[in-house]
């Protein structure tokens, strides 16, 4: 019996059509736009000005606070501008625009592919310092600065490290390809993470729709057994949203993260496989987070692909490389189809959190007409957080924020299972997101005064 999380969950068709496409390196674009806010927390502060020449991997913005991340130049060239640029949602944010000129790397970066397996001897604080310097954030999409996650608050101690190779979002295959193609590096990254946290229970959760990844991980763990701490690969029953931190903790360890708390409360730290790879590169190769694997997929896409992309590359360039935008394209979604957001500007850049680009036809993406809630309770059944989505949506419509808060709206992980399952096609998550944002604002205001 395979493990999974017990509460709620849905089984959307997984459509992993790009799973077989080996990662290819996307050619450098003519210009890149690097937003200064690619992570949760304070935006980074630009260190360069217009006209500066930068090298690949050069620091261009330093962290703007404790919860923030450094940003490095993904290309070499000349800074054209440091000014607000519209992102994927059309909302403007500060960004550094760089004209690409050649591909000159910082000399400190080791570009060789030699595997460095050392992970048991390094000083934990040195590992964390290197992670912070490399500007690494959670690469599953949440983009929480990794060094903050690795520094548990006083009084809390992690005993378990869970590596998230679940990739439960339909369509997306970037983590899958990382596990297949960069297995050894990723596992050394896991070892470094375990060393930084000082934990000995290490699990890698992978859904069993990726048997090749499970097999590759198990084999490589065997190969590297002399260098790595013991790592257990945990195959999981396919169920969305298993990639959610709290769901994964429950599925792998059986521990329940309390409402409003983080996994560290039950001694767990969850990191994405992509993050583990980035940590390996940062620690052993001195390479900051300047590129990532992005899945470009969709039923209308001619060549569903996985690209190794420099940050700041326009999304339109990725779509072009995958065969162009199909005639019937209705929506371009940044991220997966369940949690991603439709982009209103496809010239927006790839950022640290862009795990995939899903192009949907107008027919696939069309929202059907909303009807009245029939009180079937379907949304309550599928909610992995045990919330009452129909009620939270209603409360948000009525702007009853106190009751929304009491109903646990801030626990919503925005997985979209409720909207997916609703037979009345009520846009539940739209309303709940509004409620979550408003209640979050109210809570922050309360804490500040």
């Amino acid at each position: 019996m395979l493990k999974s999380f017990p509460k709620g969950g849905i089984h959307p068709p997984d459509n992993k059509i790009s799973a077989g496409a080996a990662t290819s390196v996307l050619p450098l674009p003519a210009t890149v736009t690097v937003p200064l806010s690619q992570h949760i927390g304070a935006p980074a502060v630009a260190e360069v000005v217009k006209g500066d020449n930068v090298l690949v991997g050069q620091l261009i913005a330093k962290p703007g606070g404790f919860v923030s991340a450094a940003i490095h130049s993904p290309v070499s060239g000349t800074v054209l501008a440091v000014e607000p640029v519209a992102g994927a949602s059309g909302v403007k944010g500060m960004a550094v625009t760089i004209r690409v000129d050649g591909d000159e790397w910082e000399t400190s970066i080791d570009r060789s592919t030699t595997l460095v397996t050392d992970c048991g001897q390094m000083d934990p604080s040195a590992i964390i310092a290197k992670i912070a310097a490399a500007g690494i954030v959670g690469m599953g999409g949440a983009t929480f600065p990794t060094q903050v996650k690795l520094s548990p608050p006083p009084g809390k101690k992690a005993d378990t490290l869970i590596i998230n190779g679940v990739e439960c979002e339909p369509y997306l295959t970037s983590d899958h390809r990382v596990m297949l193609e960069r297995t050894a590096e990723t596992l050394v990254g896991v070892g470094l993470l375990a060393r930084a946290l000082g934990v000995s229970n290490i699990y890698i959760g992978v859904e069993n729709n990726k048997p090749d990844a499970i097999e590759a991980l198990r084999r490589t763990v065997g190969d590297l057994v002399r260098f790595l701490p013991p790592i257990e690969i945990v195959p999981l029953k396919v169920q969305y949203p298993q990639g959610g931190e709290k769901q994964l903790v429950k599925a792998v360890t059986g521990r329940e993260v309390p409402s409003g708390a983080l996994p560290i409360e039950v001694g767990c730290v969850v990191q994405n496989v992509g993050t583990a790879l980035a940590i390996y590169e940062a620690v052993h190769k001195n390479k900051p987070l300047i590129e990532r694997v992005v899945t470009v997929t969709g039923k209308g896409i001619a060549r569903p692909s996985n690209f190794l992309v420099r940050m700041g590359t326009p999304v339109s360039a990725l779509i072009e490389a995958a065969g162009g935008l199909p005639q019937d394209a209705g929506k371009v979604i940044g991220g997966g189809p369940m949690m991603g957001r439709a982009m209103s500007n496809i010239d927006a850049p790839v950022t640290k959190g862009t795990s995939g680009i899903v192009v949907m036809s107008g027919r696939e993406a069309a929202r059907r007409t909303e009807t009245d809630c029939i009180k079937c309770g379907g949304c309550v059944t599928v909610c992995p957080m045990g919330l009452e989505p129909y009620l939270l949506a209603r409360l948000a419509q009525k702007q009853r924020w106190d009751e929304s808060e009491a109903g646990g709206v801030t626990d919503c992980i925005e997985c979209g299972s409720c909207s997916y399952t609703c037979p009345a096609r009520v846009p539940l998550l739209d309303w709940i997101r509004l409620g979550k944002a408003e209640v979050g604002r109210i809570i922050r205001a309360r804490l500040n005064c």
Partner: protein
């Protein structure tokens, strides 16, 4: 028979005993309340809108009776007359305030014109929950202007007085100034903070910047033809220092503004709007059109003797470029109080059709709104565009970084 008799007697006895008990209980636990609260509540409008800051009219009435100084309390719905009546009842000095009205500070119509363009073109389509709050929390909006009206009608939903309606053609809300009580609910409901409560002004005459876009001039202008581009011309032309420029956006102080309307003609994009004025006399004389002679009706006032729909229908031939599809919804709308009159959308001197309407219209003291109401500047704005582009090439000193 006796069963029936006993039943009736028992019930009667029970009733009498309970009535006595209730009488004494009511005496014992009587809530002493100032009878003036009831009187004051009767005077208040009874809309329970909360615009005064109290939970309904009862709460306001209690506050009015309790406080010796009621200068800080005001019922915007009832206005001066209500407050005066309450003041007389309670023997307190009633506060006086200028009557206000909600104005929508966005004139970027999304209606498609004949050539497929729009004043503020929709670039994408939002298919989430129909709510401005949801849309604003999700992304920048359907148009290139991230400050403009989202058009889902959150303001319409909260209005308790049916004073604000969505114009389906333009995608903009329109305030019926006769019904608007300035309760301010729409101001709070709008996530973009577009709606402002402004002084109603003498004879409902107002001049205001109908834009909240803080982008740089070029960006704003690209997103919307009638955006405030922050050029600062209005600031310079204003003799009363009523206009201030902040973050590429002009704001007209309603207290300082003397309604001279110089800024309206000066504004290169037509972002400054005048309402309630009779048509301008200085417009060059044009042949009086028989159709326009019927115009001095007030489309904003449903009480107007003249049928607004008729006015619209007759005015249509003059507005040559307006497509039928665009004019129709306007003709059906009777409350177009804040819609941009054609005459303001462009310098009157440049457009023959506008001049025809303006000059033909008889200024009438009985009506207060201007004549040809059309929510979008028609293609007649085309001649003005070169002027605007020229403004960009020579940035004025006021244009900020």
């Amino acid at each position: 028979m006796s069963v029936l008799l006993y039943t009736v007697l028992t019930l009667c006895a029970l009733g009498i005993v309970l009535a006595v008990v209730l009488y004494f209980v009511a005496q014992k636990f009587r809530v002493e309340e100032d009878p003036r609260i009831d009187d004051a509540e009767a005077i208040l409008p009874g809309a329970n809108c909360g615009a005064c800051g109290y939970p309904g009219c009862r709460g306001m009435a209690e506050a009015l009776v309790k406080n010796d100084d009621i200068s800080a309390l005001y019922c915007p719905v009832g206005g001066a007359t209500t407050m005066k009546a309450v003041g007389e009842l309670l023997g307190k000095t009633a506060p006086e305030r200028e009557p206000e009205v909600a104005v929508v500070r966005c004139a970027g119509s999304c209606a498609l014109r004949g050539d497929g363009t729009a004043v503020r073109a929709r670039l994408n389509r939002f298919d989430g929950a129909r709510s401005c709050a949801v849309e604003a929390a999700t992304y920048a909006g359907e148009t290139g202007c991230s400050f403009g009206c989202l058009g889902n009608g959150d303001c319409v939903a909260v209005c308790a007085f049916d004073a604000i309606r969505m114009n389906p053609a333009t995608g903009l809300p329109e305030v019926d100034q006769d019904k608007c009580t300035a309760c301010g609910k729409c101001v709070v409901a709008c996530p973009k903070r577009i709606i402002e409560l402004r002084r109603k002004g003498p004879k409902s005459r107002r001049v205001f910047v109908s834009c909240v876009n803080k982008d740089k001039g070029g960006v704003a202008r690209k997103a919307c033809e009638v955006a405030c581009i922050g050029c600062g011309k209005c600031v310079k032309v204003c003799a009363f220092e009523a206009i201030t420029m902040d973050s590429n956006l002009a704001y007209i102080d309603p207290v300082k503004c003397k309604l001279c309307r110089k800024c309206v003609t000066e504004c290169p994009t037509g972002a400054i709007i005048e309402t309630g004025f009779p048509p301008r006399k200085e417009a060059p004389a044009a042949p009086v059109s028989p159709a326009a002679s019927a115009s001095p009706a007030s489309p904003a006032s449903p009480a107007s003797p003249s049928n607004p729909a008729t006015v619209q229908a007759e005015a249509t031939p003059l507005v040559k470029a307006t497509s039928a599809a665009e004019t129709k919804p306007v003709a059906e709308k009777t409350s177009v109080a804040e819609a941009k009159p054609l005459t303001e959308a462009m310098p009157a001197t440049e457009t023959a059709s506008a001049a025809e309407i303006t000059s033909a219209a008889e200024p009438s003291a009985s009506t207060s709104t201007s004549v040809a109401e059309t929510p979008t500047p028609t293609s007649a704005t085309a001649p003005t565009i070169p002027t605007i582009e020229a403004t960009f090439e020579t940035p004025t000193p006021t244009e900020k970084e």
